[in-house]
Assembly symmetry: C2
Homo-oligomer: 308 residues x 2
């Protein structure tokens, strides 16, 4: 059987079975070392899969760090140290320097440090980042409880719209379009929420594959049903303008668009903190799967491999 | 300027300058978390650069873990946890399962655990491993002192001979040739020496690029001269048989052959422990560079990039 027949998630299940670790299945792996809970995660950006070489290299570097910080924050942690493993073809040194300036800028912003890495030759550029974080309390996908609220940390669907605009390769863009493109190119991990998640969330993950697909994973891991309120899902003015212009359905972008890197978490509804960025978009119910205003919806995820 | 003009090590210097971390420059990065010294490292195996797809996949998995454990052990640490980041084209699932069986077998041998990872699509297979270890005392490349002995943990040059045999793609091999091939395909990290290195070594690294090149790095980092005794460098019976058959110079293989994954370390000569695998191959002197029986030698390293 080929990977394209099995799909990304089927392959992960097979390989997990071989490794036999109980720690696989969340955005980060929580391990205990000397009485401290450490979080380990890694995420790679591959040329022509996650970015194009024509993108600003500093944005690619920023994003490579941000997507890893997002995983750490999603589990209630703060980022500490990173390693950058680079596989690269022969290319301009100045391109790589700009990439690393983006990496450095992101690390300064999130207050973490790249302490090492590796450089190896290959046919395509891959930026693989490994990150170590720590937490007072690990919060994974398994703890959602019936009666709690489902929260999201910001607007959804912007990144997908930004990507579509980028792929149009137009000569000029309107200001609201540039904002959407920026959200795709330079997402910001919700570092502002890490303490809140660690203290109050019962289950948490980051939105990298899209709300319908990620909510489905959280529901499955927690053994609950998530019922979403469609009119409460936050949509940006820029996404609304984009959808009006291109005759698209904004809710569809919010549900299926990936790479927003907002947090999706559950907590008692009274834990809503008006001083932090969070909106209740649903409730945790008894049952399974994801519902939109009481109607079951299917996960619309992106599978890098599946073709059949 | 292109990477091929600057070379691998020139590129690393440029990127280090951007990152401005004082922790880059050893086999692992030592970081302090909650009073514990943790070691972070990563190393990647890229298809057609570090291995061929025709190699047994379980050996590739074994090696991907071993080269990372080797870095941790070189700095006096023990491996704890690993992440495996896989970039892969569409391929047979059974191949990947065999690869992961090799990874699992290596982790069981070294007593560490893969706790997560990532899978992404790409044009060529890359196995990128990130490893976390811990140590009582970090030993890097900087501590060699005049008057100490230079030690190596085992025979050198076997891996290079094994690689050359593999590349001959012969239909059959003699038993001693199969041993050399095995040393290239399935190197064993010197986990048996991690406590000794942590307790007694003043400087340490693993031999991945070749003795002359790696000794040069250690000498430079410590600000000393290393004087090697050519007749004390341990050579295996298999390497001697190989060199006799192919009219090669065994010492040349020991000096320039990479990927032996033996440890190179300095310590007071009286710290030689006859119950552990170590041989004194030289002395630490005042000065700089690497000498062979008093004659300066140039580092013969392998640069993945440099072509001019």
């Amino acid at each position: 059987m080929r990977v394209s027949q099995l799909g990304e998630f089927g392959l992960i299940e097979r390989l997990k079975e071989i490794l036999q670790s109980g720690l696989i299945g969340d955005d980060t792996a929580p391990v205990q070392v000397g009485g401290q809970t450490l979080l380990l995660t890694c995420d790679v950006l591959v040329q022509d899969r996650h970015f194009k070489l024509a993108y600003p290299p500093s944005a690619i570097g920023w994003k490579a760090i941000s997507v890893n910080v997002s995983d750490i924050v999603a589990n209630g942690g703060e980022p500490l140290y990173a390693l950058v493993s680079l596989v690269l073809p022969d290319m301009e040194v100045s391109y790589l320097e700009e990439l690393y300036h983006g990496i450095k800028r992101a690390c300064d912003f999130y207050r973490c440090e790249v302490v090492g890495g590796n450089i190896s030759r290959g046919d395509e550029l891959c930026i693989d980042v490994f990150m170590l974080g720590k937490t007072e309390r690990f919060v994974g996908r398994r703890g959602a409880r019936e009666g709690e609220g489902l929260f999201v940390s910001g607007t959804l669907g912007d990144s997908k719209a930004g990507l579509e605009l980028l792929l149009m390769e137009r000569k000029s863009y309107e200001p609201f379009e540039l904002t959407l493109i920026e959200r795709h190119l330079r997402p910001t991990a919700r570092i502002d929420l890490c303490k809140h998640v660690s203290r109050y969330a019962s289950a948490s993950m980051d939105l990298s594959d899209g709300l319908s697909s990620d909510a489905y994973k959280l529901a499955q891991a927690s053994g609950v049903r998530l019922n979403l309120f469609p009119d409460r899902i936050p949509l940006s003015q820029e996404l609304l303008a984009f959808c009006k212009k291109h005759r698209k359905e904004p809710l569809q972008y919010a549900l299926s668009g990936g790479e927003d890197y907002q947090l999706l978490f559950t907590q008692p509804v009274e834990r809503l903190n008006p001083f932090l960025s969070m909106v209740q978009i649903g409730v945790v119910e008894k049952g399974q799967g994801v519902y939109l205003a009481g109607v079951p919806i299917e996960p619309e995820g992106f599978d890098h491999f599946r073709v059949v």
